[in-house]
Symmetry: C2
Subunit: 491 residues, 2 copies
């Protein structure tokens, strides 16, 4: 990276630099251009610097440092700080910079910050934010405070935010913003450009298309800005617009919005109501956030933890969210205990059988996790869909037969070496074959079934499949051993 480039800082003229003096300060300032290849270290160094200034109460330095960072970097650096420290830094920012950071800050810091401000100050801040972020922030307030803030906002912003608040947060309506420009087919390039000139400066950066609507406000096309740049001013929009723009309806689930944008490589998705009227547009940064959120949700459900515990710092709250789930699993495992209880006599007669119980359970568990994770992820990415469930089930059954035979042979051989008892090896091999087939069937079938029923396939995986596998595999093992014991094979 060239030194020349490093010296310039985001949004800061030479004035900001001149407030500092000395070679050491100069050097440190250089390091503040964050290197994405070494981000952890960069954030950590900045965090230490923030803490030092906070300890000293060095207001001026805090403000300058915060202003040097992009909103995204600043929110990352502040994350490890306490809510009070975060608020102390944010309070120092001028309203327009603060508004940019607010949508990136966690909700607890936000509510502490808002508690320090009066309604008019909050309203001013929210007015500076993009309408979708403003609606998200106001949606987090309690009802009374939200109404007060809305009442204190200027008419234009209030009506936009009030409209957005009507949509469910996890739909296209909940993601979209009102910052878009429209024109009609009859207008010229010059007229469309004039409409763009009328935009607020803060809305300029995210504008990459002008949407074309008819007299009734219905979406009929879009014009990428490059076409306005390269066309003559008197050309009509109708002659350069793209017809049949891709769009989503306002009540589409956010997960489907994200996969729609991904499939069609869209950087901006127009949103229409049921009469095809343009009501908003979703920017791709929201699509990225949705994708990350949905992946976290899937992993969380597979693992049996709540999404809420990411970023949570209280061990008590985390424990409280995990314990009910674990209690459920424990109670369910009483079923497995009951099953094993039925075979107590066989186990007592032949206690060597016991030492293989963990191995059988581990294999059942592994197969269950493998098969169900593949289904859950396949459904999420569209790899598996409603109409090709049979094909996936078939592939998994084929796999299970092959895997089951391989594992059965291996475990029979290994156990023969290990305990030197062919009758136990026979029981183990047969058990393992059946266990693998059962675990693969439930691991594949259960999430697919839930998906067909319209439920989230990921919720099934942790608790249900594991318990079912444990119970059934112990029943198979105990049953086979007892049966062969009676036949005289094991005894």
């Amino acid at each position: 990276m060239s030194e020349e480039f490093k010296d310039r800082e985001r949004g800061q003229g030479p004035a900001a630099g001149s407030e500092r003096t000395g070679a050491v300060e100069e050097e440190r300032q250089d390091e503040r251009v964050l290197d994405p290849g070494n981000l952890d270290a960069e954030h950590h160094a900045l965090e230490i610097e923030f803490r030092e200034y906070l300890d000293r109460g060095a207001t001026e330095e805090l403000r300058n440092l915060a202003l040097e960072l992009s909103p995204g970097d600043l929110s990352e650096v502040l994350r490890p700080l306490s809510v009070e420290d975060t608020t102390a830094v944010l309070k120092l920012l001028p309203p327009d910079d603060l508004a940019e950071v607010l949508s990136e800050i966690d909700n607890r810091s936000l509510s502490v910050l808002f508690a320090l401000l009066d309604v008019d100050e909050i309203a001013d801040l929210v007015e500076e934010m993009p309408s979708d972020d403003a609606a998200d922030v106001i949606g987090e307030l309690d009802e009374e405070q939200a109404a007060e803030v809305l009442a204190a906002m200027e008419e234009e912003e209030r009506s936009e935010v009030a409209e957005l608040l009507q949509y469910a947060p996890e739909t296209a309506g909940g993601l979209m913003g009102k910052e878009y420009t429209t024109c009609t087919e009859e207008e010229t390039v010059a007229e469309a450009a004039a409409r763009l000139r009328a935009l607020d400066v803060s809305d300029l950066e995210e504008t990459h298309f002008v949407y074309v609507v008819d007299r009734r406000g219905r979406l009929t096309g879009r014009v990428p800005l490059i076409r306005l740049v390269i066309s003559e001013p008197e050309v009509q929009v109708r002659d350069l617009m793209e017809t049949d723009p891709l769009y989503v309806e306002v009540d589409l689930d956010q997960e489907e919005v994200a996969s729609f944008a991904q499939r069609h490589d869209l950087i901006s998705v127009p949103v229409v109501d049921h009469q095809m009227r343009l009501v908003g547009r979703i920017t791709v940064d929201d699509v990225l956030d949705v994708m990350e959120e949905e992946a976290t949700e899937d992993i969380s459900r597979l693992a049996g933890v709540s999404v809420g515990e990411f970023g949570e710092q209280s061990a008590f709250r985390v424990a409280r969210s995990r314990v009910p789930w674990l209690f459920g699993a424990m109670v369910a495992e009483l079923g497995t205990a009951t099953v094993l209880g039925h075979f107590e006599a066989s186990l007592e007669a032949r206690v060597t059988l016991v030492i293989y119980i963990p191995m059988i359970m581990a294999m059942a568990g592994n197969i269950g996790i493998q098969t169900s994770s593949v289904v859950v992820r396949g459904l999420a990415t569209g790899e598996i869909d409603f109409y090709h469930v049979g094909r996936h089930l078939l592939r998994e059954m084929g796999t299970a037969v092959l895997v089951g035979m391989a594992i059965a042979l291996a475990i029979a051989g290994v156990s023969l070496l290990f305990s030197g008892d062919p009758s136990i090896s026979l029981v183990l091999g047969l058990t393992m074959l059946l266990v693998v087939l059962f675990a693969a069937t439930t691991g594949t079938g259960m999430p697919l079934l839930l998906h067909r029923l319209g439920a989230d396939p990921a919720v099934a995986t942790g608790p249900f499949i594991t318990t079912a596998n444990d119970m059934v595999s112990m029943a198979i093992y105990g049953g086979l051993a007892t049966w062969m014991l009676k036949l005289g094979a094991v005894h």
Copy 2:
């Protein structure tokens, strides 16, 4: 959705519609505008239609149907078809439409298709593709064929693709394309617009910025197109450009590129070499693909499956990729068997102890999966970083103490009701407390340790943690029971 709008079809004038006749055909054609809220059904209906035309050998209908769909939709609809059927449809497309679909098609179909074409045809196709996709496609060919195709390409496209092929696929260089426009600070709006007019039509759609470079090609700024639209033609670029554009270096890992773009809400990321010279730009659709890929990779590793098995249809290949992993887990579980073997006498003396083995293992497994998934996902999203490992570990230890006590009390109480033997309940409660503490420590510590060592934290979770938990939890249970047996508490 308005009927008026439905009637229009992507990239098709009335001519395409007029080749069909009859009311039924008209109706079916209407349905082909895909509704993202009902995508599975839409794709399935189209798949059936494709199959019908393929059976009949109805070439004209196949081509028209394929042309009516966007490249993203077409590739989704073709996915369930056989490689031969996919190729049969693709062969019917004109080169420019085919080029658009190629980057979305799976590699096996691609190689079958390429086997049907001669080198010149392939070269013509690849020339039509965006340079990053072209490099990906050529990178999939064997060395000899790649060299032939490159040699048959036109000079400009060849040099671009050859340059891109030098970068590692999973870096910024591997993601970037060469379709960008630059200007200098001294040029005017009119001159910048003239440069844009000189672009290929196919490169227009993804252009949203003009990048500003100095005489040595070093990146110094960017101009969003909207600023060109709203500024007077004689204004100099220097007066409207954004300085200090965010960029990444060419060898940055793709995962970091994705999180950089997400953190800063970028729709296009300029890529520079180590001398700060602009060498490419990454579009956000590649960022979306990377995010999906990385989430799939994490889930796969947590579950112990390979990424390659997504979309794989051969049960044999899937089984072959899963079996070594399962064998490893099986051999490791011999350790658990050995541990239990040491306590055979105690188990024989008191066989009721056996029936709780699955419950203990299940709880150890659940805690292990919960804690390690939270770490793996936290590291992936940046929630946890290198410098805040201690804080997360502390939170998890606090959680483990609380969860352990709750579970220990519950299991002691439940087992008392269940088997009515206070001495066993005491052993179980103590075992569970220790097991939860151990499982939480390894589940949290192991991925963090691997991350510190520079390894992928997700690989550790499945095999290693599960086995360690099983072995240690059985050692704790057997040890405690034997000790208390000797003390006379259990017997």
